[in-house]
Symmetry: C2
Subunit: 263 residues, 2 copies
């Protein structure tokens, strides 16, 4: 385990893209990302990762019933495109970012994920922000495997422990219900061992099934990560630059959720 | 060592780009590549790699005296761009190609190149053509290292033995002198142990210093590869689809050079 202690920052798919419009970047989010990473990088090392959003999801849906080689080819084509628009934008605006292809450093072999961590480690040592992404990776047994950005973080955290994890989303945190559907939902300040079950039940009962699946499993997975790595996980709006930077630097954001289930 | 036995095919930088115009693709070469790989793939597995051409060389020249992190960032930005134009073009025209980021699977550690070969192996098993590229990779000792596509082939050949290696260039093979400068140069049919020294001396004495450095060292390196791997190395014009396919399938091209220095 290396003592680099970066903060893992996820640029959520619903933040960085318009999720309902295939292949459409949210350039406002890209501008905010530039400000957030550019400023935060002066104070801490960062490993970033971006979700697939409206680039990956429709493509995976379209090709998942076809040949494995088609699925891999088109899925990687789509995720690569989004990642490189983001990294090119950062590089062209002076942020020291480099792309690291997830499917090139993580494969699923018969029993486990095999990881080639050196490129991430060496990039960090050079003062760069490696930007990974959710992707279709190769699997020895199944042919392919779809890794979300959260799972990518979970896998590489075994080699480079994150100081904390920050998820930048298009909403202000984890809500008591789906804020896109109901008006009375509130942001949950803190998710701990004590209220985790209540929070999960609340999310499950009040939201759409689709949304449930997604937010429910994200919170559940992040609570597991927080507990196993003894790490705080922040969920904040990427559109709020101040709150995003606060979270990255480990300060309580004005609005946002911290998942802390290790105490 | 795996028994996949692919043919390694290099899309030379001077073939795939206009070398004298920065960031300029030779679309005629791209069309030829599509025909060559599309047809050859029916008969053999292929690992492809593309040179940096007019994308990488000016950028490396511009940034090599700057901070290491700048050099890495801009070099990778440029090489990635070219590779993805090529892979996107192939994928969009129905060729089962995937990009594999060289700097994500090869790093230079204190004594040697560390390689994560699984993504290449798994891609081949899925019937895909992995397309690697010459790139600025991370080095533990020096910060960065520039690997040509030939060197990438040399490094991964230790794990997946190539059936043969084919270099697609913008000229018809290895010439007795520089055909862009002199009119009487002839393509050398075969380079063997017996004529290697004469050929090298002939190239060194008749060509420009710049060109010499490049062709001289390429022939020398390929002769070493041929000899150590006991593999034929073909040098043919990528603009000649028939000759390119012949070389890939191990048949003598009408015009071209075979380097066979292992006998």
């Amino acid at each position: 385990m290396e003592d680099l202690e970066p903060v893992y920052v996820k640029l959520g798919g619903s933040f960085i893209t318009h999720k309902d419009k295939p292949f459409s970047i949210n350039f406002k989010a890209l501008e905010k990302t530039l400000l957030i990473l550019g400023r935060a990088k002066k104070f801490t090392t960062i490993v970033a990762g971006n979700g697939g959003g409206s680039f990956a999801h429709p493509v995976v849906k379209q090709w998942i019933m076809h040949d494995l080689s088609d699925l891999i080819k088109y899925c990687q084509n789509a995720t690569r495109k989004l990642n490189h628009i983001i990294v090119d934008y950062l590089v062209n605006h002076g942020v020291d970012a480099v792309s690291i292809q997830t499917s090139a450093i993580i494969v699923h072999s018969s029993k486990e994920y095999k990881v080639f961590i050196e490129p991430v480690r060496y990039a960090l040592r050079q003062g760069l922000i490696p930007v990974l992404y959710g992707e279709c990776i190769y699997s020895e047994t199944r042919g392919y495997d779809i890794l979300s950005t959260e799972q990518v973080f979970g896998v590489i955290a075994r080699y480079i422990k994150p100081k904390r994890i920050v998820l930048l989303t298009d909403v202000k945190g984890v809500y008591t219900c789906d804020p896109r559907k109901y008006t009375k939902c509130k942001v949950i300040d803190e998710i701990t061992k004590n209220n985790l079950e209540i929070v999960l039940r609340s999310i499950a009962s009040s939201a759409d099934r689709d949304v449930t699946g997604s937010i429910y499993s994200k919170v559940k997975y992040m609570a597991e990560i927080s507990s196993s790595l003894k790490t705080d996980v922040y969920v904040v709006s990427g559109f709020d630059v101040e709150d995003s930077i606060s979270a990255i630097l480990g300060k309580k954001p004005r609005t946002g959720t911290v998942i802390r289930t290790y105490e």
